[in-house]
């Protein structure tokens, strides 16, 4: 097997005096769809923040496409092609949908490339084409989520991480978001998905990591997960 694109090795992290992550290791290979599951508040988002450089790790190392990137700040990680679509969307509220998307391609200067990506995003998320000139703050929850996803795709990264893209949306919209995830997977992109709803994630994933109370509790592929209901029950509380 070739070297993984992303390799997290024995990472610790925390806020004042409390470890949120303990001894976390995880590998993501090129073209894989990896999901990180576990209950709310158990360090999933913290893990993504550590990888994307929003948060400093308190130990361990992170390698991305062969380089040691431990301790690099978020802009440097973005420049290396690691995209993080954060929880809660974090849109630029007073910018239009179009401007938000263009910020996604901030590091790309080739206009033709930007044009092509924009067309791709509009093809996957057609609603965004209709809402082009609307201010982000006036969008509905589902539309905001789509802008956040589209903005992440505009970066054209080598690895894209989604933090709970279905959080807080009505089930109908969640289905649409997962259709997008499926399309991204089929297009061969490398993806890390953080998700509370393990069942949904299991159907897509090449590999799953279960995070419990800041530590890695179980890993395997989607089918193995579905075959082991006791894992589901003991960690996700039925």
């Amino acid at each position: 097997m070739s070297d993984p694109l992303l390799s997290v090795c024995q990472v610790f992290a925390g806020y004042t005096g409390r470890d949120v992550l303990r001894d976390i290791s995880l590998d993501v290979h090129e073209g894989a769809f990896v999901s990180v599951i576990g209950p709310n508040g158990h360090g999933k988002s913290t893990l993504l923040k550590c990888i994307s450089g929003l948060l400093r790790t308190g130990g361990g190392s992170i390698r991305f496409s062969g380089d040691d990137v431990t301790g690099l700040a978020a802009p440097a990680m973005a420049a290396r092609g690691l995209v993080h679509v954060p929880q809660g969307d974090m849109l630029f509220a007073d910018m239009t949908v179009q401007e938000n998307l263009m910020m996604g391609a901030y590091l790309t200067s080739d206009r033709a490339v930007i044009r092509r990506r924009l067309d791709e995003v509009h093809a996957i998320l057609p609603r965004l084409a209709d809402r082009r000139q609307q201010l982000a703050r006036t969008l509905s929850g589902g539309e905001r989520r789509m802008v956040a996803i589209g903005r992440g795709l505009m970066a054209g990264g080598r690895l894209t991480m989604f933090d709970e893209p279905s959080l807080g949306l009505a089930p109908v919209i969640i289905d649409q978001i997962y259709d997008v995830m499926t399309r991204l997977r089929e297009s061969g992109r490398t993806i890390v998905l953080v998700e509370e709803n393990a069942m949904r994630a299991a159907r897509q994933s090449d590999r799953m990591y279960l995070l419990d109370n800041g530590a890695m509790a179980w890993q395997g592929n989607g089918e193995e997960f579905l075959a082991r209901p006791e894992v589901i029950r003991s960690y996700l509380g039925g």
Binding site: T16, N40, A170, P171, M199, G237, G238
Partner: protein
Amino acid sequence: MDELSQETARSPRPLLVVDGVSKYFGALAAVDNLSFEVMPGEVLGIGGPNGAGKTTLFDVITGLDRASSGHILFAGDDITRAGPERICHAGIARTFQLNAGFDTLSVRENIEVAAIYGHEAPVFPGFRVRPVIRRRVDEALELSGLTDRATTPAGELAVLERKLLMVATAIVTQPRLLMLDEPVGGLTQAEMDAFVAMLARIRGEGMAIILIEHVMRFLVTLADRVLIMHHGERIYEGRPDDLANDRRVVDVYLGDGAADLIRAALDPGAAP
């Protein structure tokens, strides 16, 4: 009207009446013409997707935000336009989703300040904490299991402890209605059990509770009655056991998988 007066004659008067309350943010109706009642000693669970207006409803009831229209009565008094201090003194105490705390105050001081100012407004609070207040603070520390942490600054507490502290500062104001906003979000199974145990102790004192919760298992096991909100409106109100059978709730909010889990939670004997 006639029917209503007959109703009140038969049953005890409701503690809280929310009557046609709406809250608009610009054109968006966060709470849309909502009405419900809470009886003394009752536990009402409120569920619904994010952005359904649950926390806004809490903000409006507790005076942190003003209702755009409608009325709110508590124990017969109109509190629609009252500020949060007055509502606290009237007997409503709430907790917050993001685990609010006075971070530079110690755990003990957090509870003390609520005990001094929360039950009634002192004309002048004096220069010392009165013994009767100290006793109530000790009780609240005991009840919430935070006695060992009394001198720790609240900012250094772990998630569960912060939640317990928030409840302790609420009950020390001696409320008749306790409103909990996502009390167990982010807790592990064991922590959730600890929290439920504490709530059971509080409930013995006949306090009414309204709780917002995403963890449906928690909601349905604790609540006497459930209200589900969507886009600021009520889409379901009734017994928790019927919840999973309501087509609209399943479609809009729960999804089929979760509905199965709720049935299982309410009936541990049945296979999921």
